[in-house]
Protein backbone atom coordinates (compact mmCIF):
# COMPACT_ATOMS: atom_id res chain seq x y z
CA UNK A 1 0.00 0.00 0.00
CA UNK A 2 1.38 3.40 -0.87
CA UNK A 3 1.54 6.12 1.75
CA UNK A 4 1.03 9.80 1.08
CA UNK A 5 2.09 12.29 3.68
CA UNK A 6 1.10 15.85 3.04
CA UNK A 7 2.11 18.91 5.02
CA UNK A 8 2.26 17.09 8.30
CA UNK A 9 3.39 19.24 11.21
CA UNK A 10 3.44 18.77 14.94
CA UNK A 11 4.44 20.68 18.02
CA UNK A 12 4.70 19.72 21.65
CA UNK A 13 3.91 22.74 23.76
CA UNK A 14 6.10 25.49 22.41
CA UNK A 15 8.41 23.11 20.66
CA UNK A 16 8.03 22.49 16.93
CA UNK A 17 8.85 18.80 16.59
CA UNK A 18 7.91 18.60 12.90
CA UNK A 19 7.77 21.50 10.47
CA UNK A 20 5.23 20.89 7.72
CA UNK A 21 6.67 18.10 5.64
CA UNK A 22 5.49 15.88 2.83
CA UNK A 23 6.58 12.45 1.71
CA UNK A 24 5.41 9.94 -0.88
CA UNK A 25 6.04 6.30 -0.26
CA UNK A 26 5.42 3.78 -2.99
CA UNK A 27 3.77 0.46 -2.55
CA UNK A 28 6.24 -2.19 -1.44
CA UNK A 29 8.99 0.29 -0.78
CA UNK A 30 11.27 0.17 2.23
CA UNK A 31 12.01 3.63 3.58
CA UNK A 32 14.63 4.48 6.19
CA UNK A 33 14.21 7.57 8.33
CA UNK A 34 17.69 8.68 9.27
CA UNK A 35 18.71 11.56 11.47
CA UNK A 36 20.30 12.63 14.70
CA UNK A 37 18.61 12.30 18.05
CA UNK A 38 15.65 14.61 18.45
CA UNK A 39 15.18 15.23 14.74
CA UNK A 40 11.59 14.00 14.84
CA UNK A 41 11.92 10.54 13.33
CA UNK A 42 9.90 8.80 15.98
CA UNK A 43 7.32 11.54 15.94
CA UNK A 44 6.81 11.17 12.20
CA UNK A 45 6.55 7.40 12.47
CA UNK A 46 4.01 7.65 15.26
CA UNK A 47 1.96 10.09 13.28
CA UNK A 48 1.90 7.71 10.35
CA UNK A 49 0.75 4.95 12.69
CA UNK A 50 -1.88 7.17 14.24
CA UNK A 51 -0.35 6.95 17.70
CA UNK A 52 0.11 10.67 17.65
CA UNK A 53 -2.16 13.24 16.04
CA UNK A 54 -0.68 15.76 13.64
CA UNK A 55 -1.40 19.46 13.99
CA UNK A 56 -1.88 20.01 10.31
CA UNK A 57 -1.80 18.04 7.11
CA UNK A 58 -3.16 14.72 6.00
CA UNK A 59 -2.14 11.15 5.50
CA UNK A 60 -3.41 8.75 2.90
CA UNK A 61 -2.91 5.00 2.67
CA UNK A 62 -3.47 3.98 -0.95
CA UNK A 63 -6.42 6.16 -1.78
CA UNK A 64 -7.95 5.98 1.67
CA UNK A 65 -7.64 9.16 3.72
CA UNK A 66 -6.66 7.96 7.19
CA UNK A 67 -5.93 11.33 8.77
CA UNK A 68 -8.77 11.09 11.22
CA UNK A 69 -8.76 7.36 11.59
CA UNK A 70 -7.98 5.87 14.99
CA UNK A 71 -4.80 3.76 15.28
CA UNK A 72 -6.96 0.78 15.82
CA UNK A 73 -8.49 1.14 12.42
CA UNK A 74 -5.41 2.02 10.41
CA UNK A 75 -4.25 -1.56 10.46
CA UNK A 76 -0.57 -0.91 10.42
CA UNK A 77 2.06 -3.14 11.94
CA UNK A 78 4.20 -1.28 14.45
CA UNK A 79 7.43 -2.53 16.00
CA UNK A 80 8.50 -0.57 19.04
CA UNK A 81 12.07 0.32 19.82
CA UNK A 82 12.08 -1.68 23.02
CA UNK A 83 9.73 -4.28 21.55
CA UNK A 84 6.84 -3.62 23.97
CA UNK A 85 6.02 -7.30 24.12
CA UNK A 86 3.23 -8.18 26.54
CA UNK A 87 5.23 -9.47 29.44
CA UNK A 88 2.53 -11.59 30.98
CA UNK A 89 1.75 -13.49 27.80
CA UNK A 90 3.68 -16.31 26.24
CA UNK A 91 5.34 -15.77 22.92
CA UNK A 92 2.48 -17.54 21.17
CA UNK A 93 -0.13 -15.45 22.97
CA UNK A 94 1.73 -12.32 22.03
CA UNK A 95 1.64 -13.23 18.39
CA UNK A 96 -1.98 -14.33 18.58
CA UNK A 97 -3.12 -11.10 20.22
CA UNK A 98 -3.88 -9.19 17.06
CA UNK A 99 -6.01 -12.05 15.78
CA UNK A 100 -7.84 -12.62 19.02
CA UNK A 101 -9.02 -9.05 19.35
CA UNK A 102 -10.58 -9.03 15.89
CA UNK A 103 -14.34 -8.48 15.85
CA UNK A 104 -16.12 -11.80 16.22
CA UNK A 105 -17.17 -11.90 12.58
CA UNK A 106 -13.66 -11.50 11.23
CA UNK A 107 -11.93 -13.51 13.92
CA UNK A 108 -10.54 -16.86 12.76
CA UNK A 109 -11.45 -19.94 14.78
CA UNK A 110 -9.12 -20.82 17.69
CA UNK A 111 -7.53 -23.67 15.77
CA UNK A 112 -7.10 -21.43 12.77
CA UNK A 113 -5.44 -18.84 15.00
CA UNK A 114 -3.15 -21.50 16.41
CA UNK A 115 -2.10 -22.56 12.94
CA UNK A 116 -1.51 -19.02 11.83
CA UNK A 117 0.58 -18.28 14.93
CA UNK A 118 2.71 -21.39 14.46
CA UNK A 119 3.21 -20.44 10.86
CA UNK A 120 4.38 -16.97 11.84
CA UNK A 121 6.67 -18.34 14.50
CA UNK A 122 8.18 -20.69 11.97
CA UNK A 123 8.66 -17.79 9.65
CA UNK A 124 10.70 -15.99 12.31
CA UNK A 125 12.38 -19.31 13.12
CA UNK A 126 11.32 -19.31 16.73
CA UNK A 127 8.59 -21.95 16.75
CA UNK A 128 10.40 -23.79 19.52
CA UNK A 129 10.01 -20.82 21.86
CA UNK A 130 6.23 -20.59 21.58
CA UNK A 131 5.65 -21.20 25.28
CA UNK A 132 8.37 -18.99 26.68
CA UNK A 133 7.73 -15.63 28.26
CA UNK A 134 9.35 -12.51 26.84
CA UNK A 135 11.67 -12.17 29.84
CA UNK A 136 13.22 -15.49 28.84
CA UNK A 137 14.27 -14.29 25.41
CA UNK A 138 17.42 -12.60 24.17
CA UNK A 139 17.19 -9.22 22.52
CA UNK A 140 17.32 -10.58 19.01
CA UNK A 141 14.64 -13.12 19.74
CA UNK A 142 12.39 -10.49 21.26
CA UNK A 143 12.86 -8.40 18.17
CA UNK A 144 11.72 -11.21 15.94
CA UNK A 145 8.70 -11.95 18.08
CA UNK A 146 7.75 -8.30 17.96
CA UNK A 147 7.91 -8.54 14.20
CA UNK A 148 5.85 -11.69 14.08
CA UNK A 149 3.27 -10.05 16.28
CA UNK A 150 3.09 -7.01 14.06
CA UNK A 151 2.75 -9.16 10.99
CA UNK A 152 0.05 -11.46 12.37
CA UNK A 153 -2.79 -9.33 11.12
CA UNK A 154 -1.17 -9.09 7.70
CA UNK A 155 -0.82 -5.34 7.67
CA UNK A 156 0.07 -3.73 4.40
CA UNK A 157 2.17 -1.13 6.16
CA UNK A 158 4.92 -2.01 8.61
CA UNK A 159 6.49 0.68 10.79
CA UNK A 160 9.61 0.04 12.84
CA UNK A 161 11.24 2.35 15.41
CA UNK A 162 14.97 1.71 15.65
CA UNK A 163 14.34 -1.99 15.29
CA UNK A 164 17.95 -2.97 15.77
CA UNK A 165 19.07 -0.25 18.14
CA UNK A 166 19.70 -2.34 21.18
CA UNK A 167 21.39 -5.31 19.59
CA UNK A 168 24.94 -6.57 19.22
CA UNK A 169 26.67 -5.75 15.94
CA UNK A 170 26.58 -9.35 14.82
CA UNK A 171 22.95 -10.10 15.68
CA UNK A 172 22.00 -6.80 14.16
CA UNK A 173 23.45 -7.62 10.82
CA UNK A 174 21.74 -10.99 10.76
CA UNK A 175 18.33 -9.56 11.60
CA UNK A 176 18.70 -6.74 9.17
CA UNK A 177 19.19 -9.16 6.35
CA UNK A 178 16.34 -11.30 7.51
CA UNK A 179 13.96 -8.34 7.66
CA UNK A 180 14.88 -7.31 4.16
CA UNK A 181 14.16 -10.83 2.97
CA UNK A 182 10.78 -10.85 4.66
CA UNK A 183 9.92 -7.49 3.22
CA UNK A 184 10.73 -8.62 -0.28
CA UNK A 185 8.84 -11.84 0.18
CA UNK A 186 5.62 -10.49 1.67
CA UNK A 187 5.59 -7.24 -0.25
CA UNK A 188 4.36 -4.89 2.45
CA UNK A 189 5.42 -1.26 2.61
CA UNK A 190 7.92 -0.54 5.38
CA UNK A 191 9.17 2.56 7.12
CA UNK A 192 11.90 2.23 9.70
CA UNK A 193 13.71 4.66 11.94
CA UNK A 194 17.43 4.55 12.59
CA UNK A 195 20.26 6.80 13.47
CA UNK A 196 22.84 4.45 12.09
CA UNK A 197 23.76 5.57 8.59
CA UNK A 198 25.18 2.21 7.58
CA UNK A 199 21.90 0.55 8.48
CA UNK A 200 19.89 3.09 6.54
CA UNK A 201 22.09 2.83 3.47
CA UNK A 202 22.18 -0.93 3.50
CA UNK A 203 18.55 -1.64 4.14
CA UNK A 204 16.40 1.02 2.52
CA UNK A 205 15.14 1.51 -1.00
CA UNK A 206 15.15 5.19 -0.24
CA UNK A 207 16.58 7.08 2.70
CA UNK A 208 14.88 10.10 4.25
CA UNK A 209 17.39 12.24 6.07
CA UNK A 210 15.81 14.37 8.75
CA UNK A 211 17.07 17.17 10.95
CA UNK A 212 15.29 19.50 13.34
CA UNK A 213 11.86 18.35 12.33
CA UNK A 214 12.23 18.70 8.60
CA UNK A 215 13.39 16.55 5.72
CA UNK A 216 16.87 17.32 4.46
CA UNK A 217 17.01 14.92 1.57
CA UNK A 218 15.19 11.93 0.14
CA UNK A 219 17.17 9.64 -2.12
CA UNK A 220 18.24 6.16 -2.94
CA UNK A 221 21.23 5.08 -0.87
CA UNK A 222 23.68 5.28 -3.75
CA UNK A 223 22.45 8.64 -4.91
CA UNK A 224 22.43 9.96 -1.38
CA UNK A 225 26.02 8.97 -0.97
CA UNK A 226 27.03 10.27 -4.33
CA UNK A 227 25.27 13.60 -4.10
CA UNK A 228 24.37 14.81 -0.66
CA UNK A 229 22.62 18.09 -1.20
CA UNK A 230 23.42 19.96 1.99
CA UNK A 231 26.14 20.51 4.50
CA UNK A 232 24.00 18.77 7.09
CA UNK A 233 23.66 15.56 5.11
CA UNK A 234 27.35 15.64 4.43
CA UNK A 235 28.20 16.10 8.08
CA UNK A 236 25.79 13.45 9.15
CA UNK A 237 26.80 10.81 6.64
CA UNK A 238 30.20 11.46 8.06
CA UNK A 239 33.84 10.93 7.34
CA UNK A 240 34.24 14.16 5.40
CA UNK A 241 37.09 16.59 5.96
CA UNK A 242 36.26 20.24 5.49
CA UNK A 243 38.63 22.76 3.95
CA UNK A 244 37.57 26.37 4.39
CA UNK A 245 39.03 28.17 1.33
CA UNK A 246 39.32 31.78 0.18
CA UNK A 247 39.74 32.46 -3.53
CA UNK A 248 43.22 33.84 -4.08
CA UNK A 249 45.11 33.71 -7.35
CA UNK A 250 42.92 30.95 -8.73
CA UNK A 251 43.52 28.81 -5.68
CA UNK A 252 41.55 28.14 -2.52
CA UNK A 253 43.80 29.41 0.17
CA UNK A 254 43.73 28.90 3.94
CA UNK A 255 46.76 30.51 5.53
CA UNK A 256 49.71 28.42 4.35
CA UNK A 257 47.61 25.75 2.68
CA UNK A 258 46.16 25.89 -0.81
CA UNK A 259 44.23 23.78 -3.26
CA UNK A 260 44.13 24.42 -7.00
CA UNK A 261 40.72 24.79 -8.61
CA UNK A 262 39.88 21.89 -10.90
CA UNK A 263 38.18 22.43 -14.22
CA UNK A 264 34.67 23.75 -14.02
CA UNK A 265 34.97 25.08 -10.50
CA UNK A 266 33.41 28.38 -9.57
CA UNK A 267 35.68 31.20 -8.57
CA UNK A 268 34.14 31.67 -5.13
CA UNK A 269 35.02 31.40 -1.48
CA UNK A 270 33.56 28.33 0.18
CA UNK A 271 33.99 25.02 1.87
CA UNK A 272 35.38 21.97 0.25
CA UNK A 273 34.15 18.65 1.66
CA UNK A 274 36.45 15.75 0.90
CA UNK A 275 35.76 12.18 2.00
CA UNK A 276 38.39 10.36 3.96
CA UNK A 277 39.28 7.91 1.22
CA UNK A 278 39.41 10.46 -1.61
CA UNK A 279 43.02 11.39 -1.06
CA UNK A 280 46.50 10.77 -2.32
CA UNK A 281 49.16 11.00 0.31
CA UNK A 282 52.72 12.12 -0.26
CA UNK A 283 55.74 13.49 1.54
CA UNK A 284 55.78 16.63 -0.60
CA UNK A 285 53.09 18.99 -1.83
CA UNK A 286 51.76 18.24 -5.32
CA UNK A 287 50.86 20.57 -8.12
CA UNK A 288 47.20 20.40 -7.24
CA UNK A 289 47.42 20.96 -3.54
CA UNK A 290 49.63 21.87 -0.67
CA UNK A 291 47.98 20.67 2.53
CA UNK A 292 50.59 20.04 5.22
CA UNK A 293 49.34 17.89 8.09
CA UNK A 294 50.87 16.23 11.11
CA UNK A 295 50.08 12.59 11.91
CA UNK A 296 48.60 12.30 15.42
CA UNK A 297 47.26 8.75 15.31
CA UNK A 298 47.47 5.67 13.15
CA UNK A 299 44.72 3.09 13.48
CA UNK A 300 44.64 -0.02 11.34
CA UNK A 301 40.96 -0.77 10.89
CA UNK A 302 40.03 -3.80 8.86
CA UNK A 303 41.11 -3.48 5.32
CA UNK A 304 42.37 0.04 5.80
CA UNK A 305 44.58 2.21 7.92
CA UNK A 306 43.04 5.34 9.34
CA UNK A 307 45.31 8.33 9.85
CA UNK A 308 44.32 11.20 12.12
CA UNK A 309 45.95 14.46 11.21
CA UNK A 310 46.10 18.06 12.38
CA UNK A 311 46.74 20.96 10.03
CA UNK A 312 50.12 22.67 10.08
CA UNK A 313 49.95 26.42 9.64
CA UNK A 314 46.34 26.48 8.57
CA UNK A 315 42.94 26.23 10.22
CA UNK A 316 40.40 23.44 10.55
CA UNK A 317 37.73 22.95 13.19
CA UNK A 318 38.14 19.21 13.27
CA UNK A 319 40.88 16.66 13.16
CA UNK A 320 41.32 15.34 9.64
CA UNK A 321 40.82 11.67 8.93
CA UNK A 322 42.25 9.83 5.98
CA UNK A 323 41.74 6.18 5.11
CA UNK A 324 44.46 4.39 3.18
CA UNK A 325 44.59 0.85 1.92
CA UNK A 326 47.27 -1.15 3.74
CA UNK A 327 49.36 -1.17 0.58
CA UNK A 328 49.46 2.58 0.17
CA UNK A 329 50.23 2.93 3.84
CA UNK A 330 53.03 0.37 3.80
CA UNK A 331 54.59 2.09 0.83
CA UNK A 332 54.91 5.38 2.69
CA UNK A 333 55.50 4.02 6.13
CA UNK A 334 54.34 7.05 8.14
CA UNK A 335 55.00 7.49 11.80
CA UNK A 336 53.24 9.47 14.48
CA UNK A 337 54.39 13.08 14.55
CA UNK A 338 55.55 13.13 10.94
CA UNK A 339 54.39 15.70 8.45
CA UNK A 340 52.70 14.68 5.23
CA UNK A 341 50.83 16.26 2.37
CA UNK A 342 47.48 15.20 1.04
CA UNK A 343 45.94 15.84 -2.34
CA UNK A 344 42.20 15.42 -2.89
CA UNK A 345 41.00 13.27 -5.77
CA UNK A 346 37.40 14.42 -5.59
CA UNK A 347 35.35 16.64 -3.34
CA UNK A 348 32.18 18.65 -2.95
CA UNK A 349 32.31 22.41 -2.99
CA UNK A 350 29.81 24.57 -1.13
CA UNK A 351 30.15 28.16 -2.22
CA UNK A 352 29.43 30.50 0.68
CA UNK A 353 26.26 31.75 -0.90
CA UNK A 354 25.03 28.41 -2.16
CA UNK A 355 22.95 25.72 -0.50
CA UNK A 356 23.85 22.89 -2.85
CA UNK A 357 27.32 21.55 -3.49
CA UNK A 358 29.13 21.09 -6.76
CA UNK A 359 30.98 17.83 -7.29
CA UNK A 360 34.56 18.45 -8.30
CA UNK A 361 37.18 16.02 -9.48
CA UNK A 362 40.90 16.52 -9.88
CA UNK A 363 41.34 13.25 -11.74
CA UNK A 364 41.00 13.01 -15.48
Amino acid sequence: MSILIENISKHFGQFQALSPLSLDINEGEMIGLLGPSGSGKTTLLRIIAGLEGADTGRIQFGDRDVTNLHVRDRRVGFVFQNYALFRHMTVADNVAFGLEVLPRKERPSPTEIKTRVMHLLEMVQLAHLANRFPSQLSGGQKQRIALARALATQPEVLLLDEPFGALDAKVRKELRRWLRGLHDELGFTSVFVTHDQEEALELSDRVVVMSNGHIEQIDQPGALYASPNSRFVFDFLGNANVFEGKMENGNWQNQQASIALPNGAEQKDGQLYIRSHEFFVSREPTAQASLPLRVIAINPIGAEVRLELTPIDWQSNDVWEIDLPHKAFDKNCFDKGQTLYVTPKAGYFFAHDAQKPVLLSWEK
Binding site: A49, L51, R72, A84, F86, R87, H88, F97, V101, R149
Partner: protein, 286 residues
Protein backbone atom coordinates in the same frame (compact mmCIF):
# COMPACT_ATOMS: atom_id res chain seq x y z
CA UNK B 1 50.31 -27.68 54.72
CA UNK B 2 51.71 -25.68 51.85
CA UNK B 3 48.64 -26.27 49.73
CA UNK B 4 46.51 -25.23 52.62
CA UNK B 5 48.39 -21.99 52.88
CA UNK B 6 48.13 -21.14 49.23
CA UNK B 7 44.45 -21.98 49.31
CA UNK B 8 43.86 -19.35 51.94
CA UNK B 9 46.00 -16.94 50.02
CA UNK B 10 43.98 -17.22 46.88
CA UNK B 11 40.63 -16.85 48.59
CA UNK B 12 40.41 -13.14 49.08
CA UNK B 13 38.03 -11.75 51.63
CA UNK B 14 35.94 -9.16 49.94
CA UNK B 15 34.77 -6.18 51.86
CA UNK B 16 31.22 -5.14 51.07
CA UNK B 17 31.09 -2.19 48.76
CA UNK B 18 28.27 -0.37 50.47
CA UNK B 19 28.62 0.33 54.16
CA UNK B 20 26.12 -0.20 56.91
CA UNK B 21 24.99 -3.80 56.64
CA UNK B 22 25.63 -4.60 60.26
CA UNK B 23 24.24 -1.30 61.46
CA UNK B 24 21.08 -1.36 59.36
CA UNK B 25 20.41 -5.06 59.67
CA UNK B 26 21.24 -5.00 63.36
CA UNK B 27 18.91 -2.10 64.02
CA UNK B 28 16.17 -3.68 61.94
CA UNK B 29 16.46 -7.01 63.68
CA UNK B 30 16.57 -5.42 67.11
CA UNK B 31 13.57 -3.30 66.30
CA UNK B 32 11.61 -6.16 64.79
CA UNK B 33 12.42 -8.37 67.75
CA UNK B 34 11.51 -5.80 70.37
CA UNK B 35 8.60 -4.11 68.74
CA UNK B 36 7.10 -6.94 66.73
CA UNK B 37 8.23 -10.39 67.72
CA UNK B 38 8.50 -10.06 71.48
CA UNK B 39 4.89 -8.95 71.93
CA UNK B 40 3.79 -11.57 69.43
CA UNK B 41 5.41 -14.19 71.60
CA UNK B 42 2.87 -13.30 74.28
CA UNK B 43 0.11 -14.35 71.96
CA UNK B 44 1.75 -17.66 71.29
CA UNK B 45 2.48 -18.31 74.94
CA UNK B 46 -1.04 -17.55 76.03
CA UNK B 47 -2.35 -19.94 73.42
CA UNK B 48 0.16 -22.62 74.27
CA UNK B 49 -0.52 -22.34 77.99
CA UNK B 50 -4.18 -23.15 77.61
CA UNK B 51 -3.55 -26.53 76.01
CA UNK B 52 -4.77 -27.84 72.73
CA UNK B 53 -8.15 -29.10 73.86
CA UNK B 54 -9.21 -25.87 75.42
CA UNK B 55 -7.71 -23.96 72.51
CA UNK B 56 -9.73 -25.96 70.07
CA UNK B 57 -12.83 -25.63 72.16
CA UNK B 58 -12.50 -21.87 72.23
CA UNK B 59 -11.81 -21.33 68.58
CA UNK B 60 -14.45 -23.80 67.42
CA UNK B 61 -17.22 -22.48 69.61
CA UNK B 62 -20.36 -22.24 67.58
CA UNK B 63 -20.83 -18.54 68.07
CA UNK B 64 -17.20 -17.81 67.35
CA UNK B 65 -17.36 -19.86 64.20
CA UNK B 66 -20.43 -17.91 63.14
CA UNK B 67 -18.44 -14.75 63.69
CA UNK B 68 -15.63 -16.07 61.49
CA UNK B 69 -18.13 -16.54 58.72
CA UNK B 70 -19.61 -13.10 59.11
CA UNK B 71 -16.19 -11.49 59.33
CA UNK B 72 -14.77 -13.40 56.39
CA UNK B 73 -17.71 -12.68 54.16
CA UNK B 74 -17.84 -9.04 55.10
CA UNK B 75 -14.10 -8.59 54.71
CA UNK B 76 -14.21 -10.40 51.40
CA UNK B 77 -17.01 -8.25 50.07
CA UNK B 78 -15.40 -5.10 51.42
CA UNK B 79 -12.05 -5.88 49.90
CA UNK B 80 -13.60 -6.84 46.58
CA UNK B 81 -15.51 -3.61 46.56
CA UNK B 82 -12.30 -1.81 47.42
CA UNK B 83 -10.62 -3.68 44.60
CA UNK B 84 -13.03 -2.06 42.17
CA UNK B 85 -13.31 1.30 43.79
CA UNK B 86 -9.61 1.51 44.58
CA UNK B 87 -8.68 0.61 41.04
CA UNK B 88 -11.11 3.18 39.73
CA UNK B 89 -9.75 5.84 42.07
CA UNK B 90 -6.15 5.01 41.21
CA UNK B 91 -6.95 5.05 37.51
CA UNK B 92 -8.71 8.37 37.62
CA UNK B 93 -6.00 9.90 39.80
CA UNK B 94 -3.19 8.74 37.55
CA UNK B 95 -4.69 9.01 34.11
CA UNK B 96 -6.81 12.10 34.14
CA UNK B 97 -6.27 15.70 34.97
CA UNK B 98 -9.31 17.51 36.24
CA UNK B 99 -10.11 20.22 38.72
CA UNK B 100 -9.93 18.88 42.25
CA UNK B 101 -7.66 15.96 41.48
CA UNK B 102 -5.25 16.89 44.24
CA UNK B 103 -7.98 17.23 46.80
CA UNK B 104 -9.30 13.85 45.78
CA UNK B 105 -5.83 12.45 46.16
CA UNK B 106 -5.57 13.93 49.64
CA UNK B 107 -8.99 12.61 50.66
CA UNK B 108 -7.92 9.05 49.95
CA UNK B 109 -5.87 8.88 53.13
CA UNK B 110 -8.64 10.25 55.33
CA UNK B 111 -9.73 6.84 56.66
CA UNK B 112 -6.21 6.24 57.96
CA UNK B 113 -6.34 9.34 60.05
CA UNK B 114 -9.81 9.28 61.50
CA UNK B 115 -10.10 7.32 64.73
CA UNK B 116 -12.00 4.24 63.78
CA UNK B 117 -14.69 4.88 66.36
CA UNK B 118 -15.41 8.26 64.85
CA UNK B 119 -15.67 6.62 61.47
CA UNK B 120 -18.08 4.06 62.89
CA UNK B 121 -20.27 6.59 64.64
CA UNK B 122 -20.36 8.83 61.62
CA UNK B 123 -21.25 6.02 59.27
CA UNK B 124 -23.95 4.87 61.67
CA UNK B 125 -25.32 8.40 61.79
CA UNK B 126 -25.49 8.56 58.03
CA UNK B 127 -26.91 5.15 57.35
CA UNK B 128 -29.32 4.78 60.26
CA UNK B 129 -32.91 4.85 59.11
CA UNK B 130 -33.18 8.50 60.15
CA UNK B 131 -29.79 9.45 58.68
CA UNK B 132 -29.14 11.21 55.38
CA UNK B 133 -28.51 8.00 53.48
CA UNK B 134 -30.68 5.81 55.67
CA UNK B 135 -33.80 7.66 54.69
CA UNK B 136 -33.10 7.29 51.01
CA UNK B 137 -32.20 3.64 51.39
CA UNK B 138 -35.22 3.06 53.57
CA UNK B 139 -37.47 4.42 50.86
CA UNK B 140 -35.86 1.95 48.50
CA UNK B 141 -36.49 -0.79 50.98
CA UNK B 142 -32.80 -1.23 51.79
CA UNK B 143 -31.26 -1.44 55.19
CA UNK B 144 -27.55 -1.02 55.75
CA UNK B 145 -26.96 0.13 59.29
CA UNK B 146 -27.31 -2.64 61.90
CA UNK B 147 -27.15 -5.35 59.27
CA UNK B 148 -24.16 -7.28 57.94
CA UNK B 149 -24.04 -4.73 55.14
CA UNK B 150 -23.09 -2.16 57.71
CA UNK B 151 -20.07 -4.29 58.56
CA UNK B 152 -19.07 -4.39 54.93
CA UNK B 153 -19.48 -0.64 54.68
CA UNK B 154 -17.35 0.11 57.72
CA UNK B 155 -14.64 -2.31 56.62
CA UNK B 156 -14.58 -0.85 53.13
CA UNK B 157 -14.31 2.65 54.50
CA UNK B 158 -11.37 1.98 56.77
CA UNK B 159 -9.29 0.02 54.28
CA UNK B 160 -9.75 1.89 51.02
CA UNK B 161 -6.33 3.61 51.08
CA UNK B 162 -4.54 0.27 50.93
CA UNK B 163 -5.76 -0.55 47.44
CA UNK B 164 -5.35 2.93 46.02
CA UNK B 165 -1.88 3.39 47.41
CA UNK B 166 -0.57 0.07 46.15
CA UNK B 167 -2.06 0.31 42.67
CA UNK B 168 -1.30 3.96 42.08
CA UNK B 169 2.50 3.78 41.78
CA UNK B 170 2.36 0.75 39.51
CA UNK B 171 -0.12 2.43 37.25
CA UNK B 172 2.09 5.49 37.16
CA UNK B 173 5.10 3.43 36.13
CA UNK B 174 3.26 1.56 33.40
CA UNK B 175 4.92 2.39 30.10
CA UNK B 176 2.60 3.50 27.34
CA UNK B 177 4.23 1.27 24.76
CA UNK B 178 2.45 -1.96 25.56
CA UNK B 179 -0.81 -0.13 25.46
CA UNK B 180 0.05 1.40 22.13
CA UNK B 181 1.17 -1.95 20.83
CA UNK B 182 -2.25 -3.29 21.73
CA UNK B 183 -3.93 -0.49 19.85
CA UNK B 184 -1.83 -0.84 16.74
CA UNK B 185 -2.91 -4.46 16.70
CA UNK B 186 -6.49 -3.34 16.44
CA UNK B 187 -7.67 -3.96 20.00
CA UNK B 188 -10.44 -1.84 21.46
CA UNK B 189 -9.79 0.22 24.58
CA UNK B 190 -11.59 -2.35 26.65
CA UNK B 191 -9.58 -5.21 25.16
CA UNK B 192 -6.37 -3.37 25.80
CA UNK B 193 -7.38 -2.67 29.36
CA UNK B 194 -8.52 -6.19 30.05
CA UNK B 195 -5.73 -8.03 28.30
CA UNK B 196 -2.73 -5.73 28.55
CA UNK B 197 -3.07 -3.21 31.36
CA UNK B 198 -4.97 -5.27 33.86
CA UNK B 199 -2.50 -8.18 33.93
CA UNK B 200 0.23 -5.69 34.74
CA UNK B 201 -1.78 -4.20 37.60
CA UNK B 202 -2.96 -7.53 38.87
CA UNK B 203 -0.16 -8.25 41.35
CA UNK B 204 -0.38 -4.83 42.95
CA UNK B 205 -4.14 -4.99 42.99
CA UNK B 206 -4.02 -8.37 44.70
CA UNK B 207 -1.61 -7.07 47.30
CA UNK B 208 -3.84 -4.10 47.92
CA UNK B 209 -6.90 -6.27 48.22
CA UNK B 210 -5.07 -8.63 50.56
CA UNK B 211 -3.94 -5.80 52.80
CA UNK B 212 -7.40 -4.37 52.77
CA UNK B 213 -8.78 -7.81 53.60
CA UNK B 214 -6.47 -8.39 56.53
CA UNK B 215 -7.09 -4.94 57.88
CA UNK B 216 -10.82 -5.62 57.64
CA UNK B 217 -10.47 -8.89 59.53
CA UNK B 218 -9.01 -7.00 62.45
CA UNK B 219 -11.25 -3.94 62.34
CA UNK B 220 -13.25 -3.34 65.49
CA UNK B 221 -13.87 0.28 66.34
CA UNK B 222 -15.58 1.26 63.15
CA UNK B 223 -17.62 -1.88 62.82
CA UNK B 224 -19.31 -2.28 66.19
CA UNK B 225 -21.14 1.00 65.92
CA UNK B 226 -22.92 0.04 62.77
CA UNK B 227 -23.04 -3.73 62.92
CA UNK B 228 -26.03 -4.31 65.19
CA UNK B 229 -23.97 -7.09 66.79
CA UNK B 230 -26.78 -9.64 66.70
CA UNK B 231 -25.53 -13.08 67.68
CA UNK B 232 -24.86 -15.35 64.71
CA UNK B 233 -25.89 -12.63 62.29
CA UNK B 234 -23.74 -9.58 62.69
CA UNK B 235 -21.17 -10.37 65.32
CA UNK B 236 -17.59 -10.05 64.09
CA UNK B 237 -14.62 -11.96 65.38
CA UNK B 238 -13.05 -8.88 66.91
CA UNK B 239 -16.15 -8.60 69.07
CA UNK B 240 -15.61 -12.15 70.24
CA UNK B 241 -12.11 -11.19 71.24
CA UNK B 242 -13.48 -8.16 73.01
CA UNK B 243 -15.99 -10.30 74.89
CA UNK B 244 -13.25 -12.61 76.08
CA UNK B 245 -11.31 -9.62 77.28
CA UNK B 246 -14.34 -8.36 79.20
CA UNK B 247 -14.50 -11.75 80.89
CA UNK B 248 -10.81 -11.51 81.78
CA UNK B 249 -10.27 -14.60 79.69
CA UNK B 250 -6.99 -13.59 78.04
CA UNK B 251 -6.12 -17.07 76.81
CA UNK B 252 -9.40 -17.24 74.93
CA UNK B 253 -8.87 -13.80 73.51
CA UNK B 254 -5.37 -14.76 72.42
CA UNK B 255 -6.64 -17.97 70.90
CA UNK B 256 -9.22 -16.25 68.75
CA UNK B 257 -6.78 -13.48 67.87
CA UNK B 258 -4.24 -16.07 66.86
CA UNK B 259 -6.71 -17.57 64.41
CA UNK B 260 -7.24 -14.19 62.75
CA UNK B 261 -3.55 -13.43 62.77
CA UNK B 262 -2.68 -16.79 61.32
CA UNK B 263 -5.25 -16.41 58.57
CA UNK B 264 -3.88 -12.96 57.75
CA UNK B 265 -0.27 -14.02 57.74
CA UNK B 266 -0.93 -17.07 55.64
CA UNK B 267 -2.82 -14.94 53.17
CA UNK B 268 -0.11 -12.30 53.04
CA UNK B 269 2.59 -14.89 52.71
CA UNK B 270 0.75 -16.71 49.96
CA UNK B 271 0.22 -13.46 48.12
CA UNK B 272 3.90 -12.63 48.51
CA UNK B 273 4.98 -15.94 47.07
CA UNK B 274 2.47 -15.86 44.28
CA UNK B 275 3.46 -12.33 43.44
CA UNK B 276 7.17 -13.11 43.46
CA UNK B 277 6.49 -15.88 40.99
CA UNK B 278 4.32 -13.75 38.81
CA UNK B 279 6.85 -10.93 38.81
CA UNK B 280 9.70 -13.27 38.09
CA UNK B 281 7.86 -14.36 34.99
CA UNK B 282 7.46 -10.75 33.93
CA UNK B 283 10.91 -9.52 34.73
CA UNK B 284 13.06 -12.58 34.43
CA UNK B 285 15.52 -13.69 37.10
CA UNK B 286 17.04 -11.50 39.79
Amino acid sequence: MATHLSATETRPRHKRVLPGLSLSLGTSLLFISLILLLPMSGLVMQSVDMGWDRYWQVISDERVVASYKVTLWAALLASIFNGFFGLLLAWVLVRYDFPGRRILDALVDLPFALPTAVAGITLATLYAQNGWYGEILESLGLKVAYTPWGIVLAMAFTSIPFVVRTVQPVLEELSPEEEEAGMTLGASDWSVFRRVIFPALWPALMTGIALSFTRSLGEFGAVIFIAGNMPYVSEITSLMIFVSLQEFDFPAASAIASVVLMASLILLFAINIWQARYLRRLHGRS
